[in-house]
């Protein structure tokens, strides 16, 4: 009984090994066939088919992606009608869509999509030009608007895929002007993603990017936006005080702490939260950080008070977040050192 089982297992293992060997052999043979065609400067549809099959197995083979694009450049765009070339590109986009589902993080696939978009020929349809003649960007509009949908689909499958976020930023900045999203639209998109899942840090991050560029263009927009953002993030913090995303965003909003009104107000907001969740790590950690920023606005006595509050918070932190105990002890030491230095040399606003 035991012997028979061993025999079967050995046979099964040997069979599996043979299968593996065969797969490897087929792979290497396919690779050689394609590279030989490339060597011979073969630019044909048949070669295109071969590369597609191969890339389904190994999408990281950058040389064969290159060869594929060369076939487009030397055959499709040269000898085919624009209509046929366009249809072929659409097929390529479809091919990479299914490849991305299996390999959502492979650079070469994302790059190939970019290339397809950028090489879409002008085609009939959509907006007439200034002379009232038929539009020439129908094909571009079709492929680019597809892209926006695709990348949003990818993001709903994996909201943290930074390749997809990157690609989204690329699409929105390079697509035909009529497809561009306004900043308001983009903010609304991030709001939807955040409402769906507060710990979608990538959505918070994207939000910060939109605002950064908005405020660079028009600094007057910053103050009113801040009010709204503090409200938004306060909700997130109350709903999920253990989630880092909202806390980091909050810190970004507070910035350097030069605006003492904002600083005092937000410290108040967070102390409210602390009453409800007295042992929340982020809450305490953030409070210590903000109180350190506040010290530069305070007199000697005010500073002393804050130092004491920080000391107590850090003590609690050592207890509830022992993993980072040494960090909190380190911070405590630095606060004390800076404060003593302050006192000894009567220095205002020394960095703590």
């Amino acid at each position: 009984h035991g012997i028979k089982r061993t025999k079967v297992d050995a046979a099964a293992i040997a069979a599996r090994r043979e299968k593996e060997k065969e797969k490897l052999r087929a792979y290497l043979e396919s690779e050689k066939e394609i590279l030989d065609l490339k060597e011979a400067n073969e630019w044909s549809e048949a070669a295109l088919q071969l590369t597609e099959q191969f890339l389904n197995t190994n999408p990281e083979h950058y040389t064969i992606w290159n060869y594929r694009r060369d076939i487009f450049t030397k055959l499709v765009f040269v000898s085919w009608t624009p209509e046929d070339a366009y249809q072929r590109l659409v097929l390529d986009l479809r091919f990479t869509t299914s490849a991305l589902k299996r390999y959502p993080k492979v650079y070469w696939i994302w790059n190939h999509r970019r290339w397809c978009l950028e090489n879409t020929p002008s085609g009939p349809g959509t907006e007439p030009d200034s002379k009232g003649e038929e539009g020439i960007d129908g094909w571009e509009m079709a492929v680019w608007s597809q892209e926006v949908l695709l990348v949003e689909k990818m993001l709903s499958l994996d909201e943290r895929n930074f390749h997809a976020w990157d690609y989204r930023r690329y699409i929105l900045s390079h697509c035909p002007p009529s497809l561009r999203r306004s900043d308001a639209d983009e903010l609304a998109y991030t709001t939807r993603r955040i409402e769906k899942n507060h710990s979608n840090f990538s959505a918070w991050h994207q939000r910060s990017l939109v605002y950064t560029s908005l405020w660079k263009e028009d600094p007057s927009q910053r103050a009113p936006a801040l009010d709204q953002e503090f409200e938004l993030v306060k909700n997130a913090l109350w709903m999920a005080p253990d989630d880092q995303s909202g806390w980091l965003y909050h810190r970004w909003l507070v910035g350097s702490g030069d605006d003492v009104t904002i600083l005092e107000k937000e410290i108040g907001v967070i102390e409210e939260l602390l009453e409800v969740e007295p042992e929340s790590r982020w809450t305490l950690d953030t409070l210590v950080y903000y109180k350190r920023l506040l010290m530069k606005h305070r007199s000697e006595q005010g500073k002393r008070q804050l130092v004491e509050e920080c000391r107590r918070s850090l003590e609690t932190l050592c207890r509830i977040d022992p993993m980072r105990r040494r960090r909190y002890e380190d911070i405590g030491k630095r606060i004390l050192e800076a404060y003593s230095y302050n006192v000894a040399y009567n220095i205002q606003g020394a960095t703590l």
Binding site: E20, E39, E60, T63, M323, R325
Partner: protein, 372 residues
């Protein structure tokens, strides 16, 4: 209160299964990867580097391989040095080799492979006389873009902090920074910094452990004597504090934690134990890390029969194997009984003797004294 008590069920840390990892690394070097590793075929050189570095860090290269084997590996690596219109560098494998003129568009040198090649050759104690230094300088120059970043290969659309780190490392190895524009490279690095305190791979990306390491190591590799005007490459005290904070909070504090995650709100992964751990070491904050918890996690990621996984369930691979060991090395070097023969230099990601070899072979005025 000792750190060990923080994770109460892990009183006994597992040992490092050194023999198993050594035989695993040797097996990959001799036979290649299984079919599941097909998508790494173009990157053979860097996979080889992770295997060689594993042997180096475990002090096993001498005993585990013969001289003729090492000679074979050295020859294979040199066969990937290609010269052409873009200067000289190394490619990842001969998979793209053609009859066309060397380093055509199809077969360019890769910055990451060039970096890995030099370290691998140093580990193998190659005299490095076959290195085309002139070509390498030309290649570095061509690889840099106007915004200061470096391209993966000359016609590539990819340019991010990984390539910056490789370029800076290569300059350090050569002790020759003449072919790159340091100020613009530093500007690019700084433009990758996020409000979280870490550095994204490219501007606008989220902070990421790997690119944070690349940024910090690069900034600290810049020779202080370099004559470029403008602000210092290093972090301000406020930035230092913020980056330290972000890195430390990447450490998973749950009961089954101890390892580091790579981005905000992501899960722990053995490779980030190096990227984040070494970053903290570069910032001089390694003593603040809970090294015991980190070690507990990594040791549990080991596969009993060789290799280290990114977590407790995936398959092991050479990349995670080496980086896990490197993390253990970096975070244990100041303890009383470090389990490794030699400490890794966190900027070069190489052990001291390998670093010395490179300096002696490639620097104009080689260091003859033992490294500091």
């Amino acid at each position: 209160m000792s750190d060990q008590a923080i994770v109460p069920d892990r009183q006994q840390q597992l040992p490092i299964y050194a023999k198993a990892h050594i035989s695993s690394a040797i097996r990959f070097l001799r036979q290649g990867l299984p079919r599941t590793g097909i998508d790494n075929d173009q990157a053979r050189l860097v996979i080889g580097f992770y295997c060689l570095a594993t042997l180096d860090i475990l002090d096993a290269l001498e005993s585990a391989s013969s001289e003729s084997e090492k000679e074979g590996w050295r020859s294979w690596i040199w066969a990937q040095q290609i010269r052409g219109i873009w200067g000289s560098g190394f490619r990842g494998s001969p998979g793209a080799a053609t009859n066309q003129p060397a380093s055509s568009e199809y077969d360019p040198p890769f910055l990451i492979m060039t970096y890995a090649a030099l370290l691998s050759l140093a580990i193998l104690r190659d005299p490095l006389t076959q290195l085309d230094r002139e070509g390498l300088r030309k290649y570095l120059k061509i690889s840099q873009r106007e915004d200061g970043s470096f391209k993966l290969f000359p016609t590539s659309e990819e340019y991010d902090l990984r390539m910056t780190y490789c370029a800076f490392s290569i300059c350090s190895m050569l002790d020759d920074w003449s072919s790159i524009n340091i100020p613009s490279a530093v500007t690019f690095i700084q433009s990758c910094r996020t409000y979280e305190g870490g550095y994204g791979q490219e501007p606008n990306n989220e902070a990421h452990g790997g690119s944070t390491y690349c940024a910090l190591a690069s900034l600290h590799l810049v020779p202080p004597s370099s004559n470029y005007a403008g602000s210092s490459a290093l972090l301000t005290p406020a930035q230092h504090a913020q980056t330290t904070r972000w890195l430390l909070h990447c450490q998973d504090a749950s009961e089954t934690g101890g390892g580091f995650a790579g981005r905000t709100n992501k899960v722990q992964d053995a490779c980030y134990c190096f990227w984040c751990g070494a970053s903290l070491d570069i910032l001089g904050m390694a003593q603040v890390v809970n090294a015991d918890a980190n070690a507990s996690f990594l040791l549990e990621c080991q596969f009993r029969f060789g290799g280290i996984r990114k977590d407790r369930v995936s398959n092991p691979d050479p990349y995670h194997t080496y980086l896990a060991l490197a993390s253990l090395n970096i975070l244990s070097k100041d303890t009383t009984n470090p389990p490794f023969e030699e400490a890794l230099d966190p900027l070069w990601n190489a052990r001291a003797s390998t670093q010395l070899w490179l300096k002696q072979r490639l620097h104009a005025t080689p260091a003859t004294a033992a490294p500091a």
